[in-house]
Symmetry: C2
Subunit: 384 residues, 2 copies
């Protein structure tokens, strides 16, 4: 098939910021793109050839959109899977597959998948209802503390809670969940694996998610991770095996824990471009977005090496500010060498809302990390 | 002024490929953009917030469009200058200025500007009509060979001819022109200088335009140029002086000759992102497009150093093919490390039409140059 002509149509489910960054790269290859999204004000609207308004969880909306394109991908996992399964049967190429999405959408299923495939992950128990967790604690079948995770539709730290006493369960959603052993870890790592429709596989360097010591929020993504080579090798191996187990096509971001004993445990995966890969735009030979497109179209994969060291800082709404957004000191940070802000264009800020990210690149990674700290100290996402 | 809000509007005159690459970078900063362009099928249409249909040479079209924006820039020089001059009087920020564009639009005026400002350029004579050139030759006032250049509206080698005999003048446009001394040169070089509205100045490394030995067409842009440091320094100095002489805001691409005696002579300038800077997207800390936006908005300029060596190859329509375009072997070149094709999305090819470009980056510039030759040998822009 000739992707470089207007007869071919690429469909994207979801019209958010990830989709927008994906679309910039389709433009580079002149690929005709269609986006399905429920919000008329979606960031993608400005960058696609066709914008279709529709609910991503509605069977008909997804099915009809899918029939209209040749290859279908996602920028968000919460989409109607039955429609994807039917589209696959009817010959539409769907990457990631409905099967993979069905497993990933549910954290209990995802964890069971790792166990079934002999992939390392923290021990856990599955519960159909929150009430069963309480019973298990009361009967001594579950020891405190543990990590509670909602099975379905958790996102970005929401739907996750460290439970130290039975009272911590108050107010949590009552449905399906898991209780995961609280593993003390040295580092949270991630590897993005690209696997193409033609079977080619390449992975990006291991990155490190550096957490704020108090806020328990990812502050910096650092590429490459400052870890021993043997640990990096193990993380790469686990990530590659995970991609293979899913028989995945496209990008798979594999988030992992490096335990105190330098074991690698899979935390969770995202079958698409991911926050832990934003620094690839400036730091890598091939950005994660270009790579995803290469992979799902069966084109040769690009080189995943870094040109320079990269650090990514998320721009989130400051606490105490809700309303029309203002980026304080943005010109100040643009004075610093190798600093690129990416402003997502959301008009309204609220505490912790993801409003953009800043990439800092430097030949010397430690220097980039230092500049990142200055960036973090200067820029503030506030309201008018 | 807060550029990072929707109250601000950036206007671009011209809706071609340069404009499109500029627009991708405005998206990164979430800048609201308006484009004026005569063709409904313009590449920019998909990437701007507002698309205005209108003739760039029409006073009213340009004036009315300009009144609608806060900062106005161009992606092509041939625009109505009277409208720009009036807009400037009325407070619209126009970069490049009407004065600079008036000088640059006319090659005779441009050459006189260099003479007036004591900037090095090849000796030349100015003629109001082609017929005057013939008279000058006949009277011995002009020696053969020389380079004939049309004064107005030449583009990309069109409007330029080496005249070795009086017969070579046959069929040339009859209007204003110059006759320039044919200077034997070792290299054709270029430097892109960025000068911001706030007065900050930064320049990119000197690049080398390598010509095809027979076809006399730029085959490769090589960054940095493989020239002695002293020559590079001289080229940088001339380029910076030129930008200063124009009191220029935005990018100024200064094309120069390195003569057999290592003199530097200005050939011509382009007051905008330029073909000789396309490799900055992949090779530099800051792409020329991002830099142009930073400059005209008075934001701090980005670092102009290279992360890696870069070579750019233009993709032009192959001889003997006209019609619906096909890119032969594009997947083959995408297999090579550090190779990124940029397909401009023009549906029809014809001999020598610019259809895209390919960037090759590598830590080792000589390796990049080698891969570029393989790219050039493989990819063909043909028709169905």
């Amino acid at each position: 098939m000739n992707y470089f002509s207007s007869n071919f149509k690429l469909g994207i489910l979801g019209g958010g910021q990830l989709g927008k960054m994906l679309l910039y790269n389709t433009r580079k290859f002149d690929i005709y793109t269609c986006v399905l999204e429920a919000s008329e004000a979606a960031p993608c609207r400005i960058a696609c050839d066709e914008f279709h308004l529709g609910d991503l969880l509605d069977y008909d909306a997804v099915y009809n959109f899918g029939k209209h394109v040749d290859v279908l991908t996602i920028e968000i996992e919460n989409v109607n899977i039955e429609a994807l399964a039917d589209l696959e049967k009817e010959g539409v190429k769907v990457y990631p597959s409905s099967k993979t999405l069905r497993t990933i959408q549910n954290k209990a299923k995802q964890k069971l998948f790792y166990v079934d495939h002999n992939l390392p992950t923290a021990p856990f128990s599955r519960f159909a209802y929150l009430s069963e967790i309480k019973e298990a604690i009361n009967h001594g079948g579950l020891k405190l503390p543990f990590v509670w995770k909602v099975a379905q539709f958790g996102y970005d730290g929401q739907g996750v809670k460290i439970v130290k006493s039975i009272e911590d369960l108050e107010g949590l959603p009552k449905g399906e969940c898991i209780a995961e052993e609280l593993v003390p870890f040295k580092n949270e790592l991630a590897v993005i694996v690209a696997r193409s429709a033609a079977g080619e596989v390449k992975s990006y360097p291991v990155v490190e998610m550096e957490f704020h010591p108090e806020a328990n929020q990812v502050e910096y993504v650092i590429c490459p991770a400052r870890i021993p080579e043997a640990v990096a090798k193990k993380a790469q191996e686990v990530a590659l095996k995970t991609s293979e187990a899913y028989n995945h096509v496209g990008l798979l971001a594999v988030e992992m824990f490096q335990t105190q004993n330098d074991e690698i445990l899979i935390n969770e995966v995202a079958p698409r471009p991911h926050n832990s890969g934003h620094q690839t735009i400036e730091a890598s030979y091939t950005s994660q977005f270009e790579q995803h497109i290469r992979a799902i179209l069966g084109l040769p994969l690009g080189k995943t090496d870094s040109k320079v060291g990269g650090v990514m800082v998320n721009l989130v709404g400051a606490e105490g500010y809700t309303g029309d957004v203002v980026y304080e000191n943005i010109a100040e940070i643009m004075k610093m060498a190798g600093v690129t802000p990416h402003i997502y264009g959301k008009k309204q800020t609220r505490p912790f809302r993801k409003m953009g990210h800043v990439t800092i690149v430097n030949e010397d990674l430690n220097e980039a990390r230092k500049i990142a700290e200055q960036v973090k100290g200067l820029i503030k996402v506030i309201s008018t």
